[in-house]
């Protein structure tokens, strides 16, 4: 990991200093500042190497690394350039990719996070100090000192009722505007009326002061919400831009062939696409022939051969060494462009799913309010001061604080547990949604089957070292998926391999690789018909050995599907691959033929998913993004494009189907936890409310009961959720 290399492979970074790129990457305020995503950072030593660059290289003024997101912020000295900075980072053994300059949205988010932290600090300070004074009073303090302490509590409560409670006021106002009840509402009523009545009592010189209980629970709830938000965000911390599969630059041909940002391409521009680059728009092929991998669009990695004049779709990945194309359609006019923009906008969309916890809290709010109002009115005819006193106690105690605290806590624990198991959920409402799922749609390639082409075995089973070295040497010039498959299969055999030099060594797109030694021609191409789905090494026209290409199902797939069917879920297989292959897979999984669908385009998949209510889509690759957005719950299985994560509800880091089953389990446990907390708070509210109405509750009792209920909920969440 990271050795000092004076001469790293020559990669051209000079485009970073071109005007058109500088305006993308250089920081808006400081033109010498650029941010890189640095692959290869893994530990403190890496951070040190990068951050101590300025000490030995005067071209770099400063480097600041963020370990979590692998980002390095580099400031160059004015006499140097960005290309040098990139090269210096490469010399250390890392792989830098430039990142777009900081956006306004990112800055605003950072500021809002800081403000939340500050609010928590103020809340803790005020609540803690108020409680210190209140307890002095509870334990018998009287007279003038009590008077002083009470007024101090009042002064310390002022920042609480204005600044700390502000998010609750905002939340309550917004929900009122939408004619919905939210848990912010009773919090607002409690904190404000608590303030009002307590202050009246303070001025009167008698009666209860509730400053401590209210500031205490406001702090607890803010803390629980902050925790939930930061755990949700931690899983998604990487800047998502570097995941977009479309590279940012492409070689444009014309007067002065040079790198151009993809976004400044226009119709009619001619570009040179190198191997493994992605075609940035629909383009007409000008080269005689070229191979492309369309897995981003169809999920299938079988290469397609295009000839001159054909239109290569946006998102196709070039497999041939070089291809010249002329742009026809760009951006959102292309299928891929539409998919990418859906990914971007889907990420920001808020879900307005109304869960069980929300509805339970509505019920509780309504009942608490109505009971309190009725009580105060009825009892008020009898004894007004007592009625107000007991009404205040009722509102403070029975305010659904336990619920406001308990639900975010249970959901946060659920999220943490899911993350520990490798399931990264975008938001906590996925748990409840999982409970309602009725049908599951599984993508085939990459989800049910391993996503890369793989060689399952060779015929004959053991190969002689000559054959191995010939195959590897022939495939050496190819970046075709089959070449990768052969390399990984043969690389795993223990035989020592020496590469052989061929004459007339060439790759013929769509056919295979050819070469000549001592006048004998060798090739690796499609095998004989007796071995369907295979490639073979040929010596002249005689077959030497075959390599069978497998489409291996992930282990346990069939068992899991059986388990789901037993629960009453409908399971379907959907794929862009040919119908008969999909049927084979479905059969091996024990699914009926009506449940297997092949030859589907991304739009058709999305349509199918939309037709079934409460459907779950499990897939990978950007081609499933449209279906993800129509599904009730979507799970992105890794092994392919991580950008799919932006539109899916859950991302599975190991990619095994077993994780989907784990998701069901974690969801069930989390919901049980939420339920338990709801019942605890109902119990607490009932007992406390009755006690308040009977006059048994005073500030001291409230100050004790409130932490006890919170503690019970905390224990129930942490301990009860253990498996």
């Amino acid at each position: 990991m990271g050795q000092l290399q004076q001469n790293s492979p020559r990669i051209d970074d000079s485009y970073l200093d071109q005007e058109n790129f500088k305006h993308l990457y250089a920081d808006a305020e400081n033109p010498n500042l650029i941010r890189f995503y640095v692959d290869g950072i893994s530990c403190s030593r890496c951070v040190q190497k990068l951050e101590s660059l300025p000490q030995t290289k005067s071209q770099i003024r400063s480097v600041q690394v963020q370990l979590g997101s692998k980002m390095a912020q580099v400031e160059i000295s004015p006499s140097s350039n960005f290309a040098t900075a990139a090269q210096l980072i490469r010399d250390l053994g890392f792989y830098p990719t430039p990142l777009r300059a900081r956006t306004n949205a990112e800055d605003l988010e950072k500021i809002s996070n800081r403000n939340e932290l500050i609010r928590l600090a103020v809340a803790a300070f005020c609540a803690g100090n108020i409680m210190t004074f209140a307890f002095g009073v509870y334990f018998g303090l009287e007279g003038e000192l009590k008077h002083v302490f009470d007024w101090l509590s009042f002064v310390l409560y002022l920042p609480v009722v204005t600044y700390v409670a502000w998010p609750f006021y905002r939340g309550a106002w917004q929900s009122l505007k939408q004619r919905q009840l939210s848990i912010d509402l009773p919090m607002v009523v409690a904190s404000f009326s608590g303030f009002l009545f307590s202050t009246v009592n303070l001025i009167r010189g008698e009666g209860s002061l509730y400053y401590d209980s209210i500031s205490g629970f406001l702090f607890l709830i803010l803390a629980a919400r902050f925790l939930q938000k930061s755990i949700q965000k931690k899983a998604f911390s990487d800047s998502f831009r570097h995941w977009l599969p479309l590279q940012e630059k492409v070689m444009k041909l014309g007067e002065g062939t040079r790198w151009t940002p993809v976004e400044s391409l226009k119709k009619g521009d001619r570009i040179l696409l190198k191997a493994s680059e992605i075609c940035p728009g629909d383009a007409r092929l000008e080269s005689v022939t070229a191979d492309f991998d369309l897995s981003f669009l169809t999920g299938e990695s079988c290469p397609q051969t295009y000839s001159r004049g054909m239109t290569v779709p946006s998102g196709a990945r070039a497999l041939s060494a070089e291809a010249v194309l002329q742009m026809e359609r760009l951006g959102e006019d292309t299928t891929f462009g539409k998919i990418l923009s859906e990914v971007r906008s889907g990420f920001l969309k808020q879900s307005n799913f109304m869960g069980l916890a929300d509805r339970a809290s509505h019920l509780l709010i309504l009942s608490v309010f109505s009971i309190a109002t009725v009580f105060v009115i009825v009892y008020g005819f009898w004894d007004l001061p007592q009625a107000l006193e007991r009404g205040l106690a009722l509102i403070v105690l029975a305010c659904p604080c336990a619920m406001a605290f308990g639900t975010p806590l249970a959901l946060t624990m659920g999220l943490r547990r899911a993350t520990q198991k490798g399931l990264i959920a975008k938001s906590a409402d996925v748990f409840e949604k999982m409970g309602r799922i009725r049908s599951i749609f599984l993508d085939k390639t990459g989800t049910l089957t391993k996503s890369k082409l793989e060689i399952s075995r060779s015929v004959p089973q053991t190969l002689d070292s000559d054959s191995i070295s010939y195959v590897l040497s022939l495939e050496n010039i190819s970046s075709h998926p089959i070449a990768f498959a052969l390399r990984s299969y043969l690389g795993s055999s223990k035989a020592e391999v020496r590469l052989v030099q061929f004459e007339e060594h060439r790759e013929v797109p769509g056919v295979g690789v050819f070469g000549r030694i001592d006048g004998i021609s060798y090739s690796v191409r499609k095998g004989l018909d007796s071995f369907p789905r295979s490639v073979a090494l040929f010596r002249e026209d005689t077959c030497v050995c075959h390599f069978l290409i497998s489409e291996d199902l992930e282990e346990n797939s069939a068992e899991l599907i059986h388990k789901w069917k037993a629960r009453g879920l409908e399971v379907f297989v959907v794929s862009g691959d040919q119908q008969h292959i999909v049927d084979q897979v479905a059969q091996r999984l024990g699914l009926a033929k009506e449940n297997s669908f092949g030859n589907l385009s991304p739009e058709q998949k999305a349509e199918m998913v939309q037709k079934k209510p409460f459907s779950m889509m499990v897939g990978d690759g950007i081609n499933d993004v449209l279906a993800f957005q129509k599904a009730f719950v979507s799970v992105a299985v890794s092994g392919s494009i991580r950008a799919a994560m932006q539109s899916a509800s859950v991302y599975s880091s190991t990619g095994a189907l077993a994780q989907v089953d784990l998701l069901f389990q974690v969801s069930e446990n989390t919901l049980k936890s939420v339920n338990r907390n709801l019942w605890i708070s109902v119990f607490y509210n009932t007992v406390g409310g009755v006690a308040a109405m009977l006059g048994f509750v005073n500030p001291f009792v409230a100050a004790i009961l409130m932490p006890i209920s919170s503690l019970v909920i905390l224990v129930s969440t942490v301990w009860g959720g253990r498996e």
Binding site: V47, K49, T56, L67, K110, L117, I118, F125, L152
Partner: protein, 64 residues
């Protein structure tokens, strides 16, 4: 009793001081990244070695 008249304001002022210190730290972006600073204390200080040994030591780039 009169001691309290001194101690209580002092305690509050001290507490407030910490709140303001926290606010300053948050505003100067110190809480934005809480992971990386923990690693920075592990940096080896090659310059220190040079002065202690009083020998010219080249800035070492040891392989990991």
């Amino acid at each position: 009793m009169s001691v309290l008249l001194l101690m209580i304001p002092m305690a509050l002022v001290l507490g407030l001081g910490f709140v303001f210190a926290f606010m300053w730290a948050a505003k100067s972006e110190q809480f934005d990244d809480v992971e990386t600073p923990a690693h920075r204390i592990l940096f080896e200080d090659d310059k220190m070695i040079e002065s202690v040994d009083n020998v010219k030591v080249h800035a070492k780039e040891s392989s990991s």
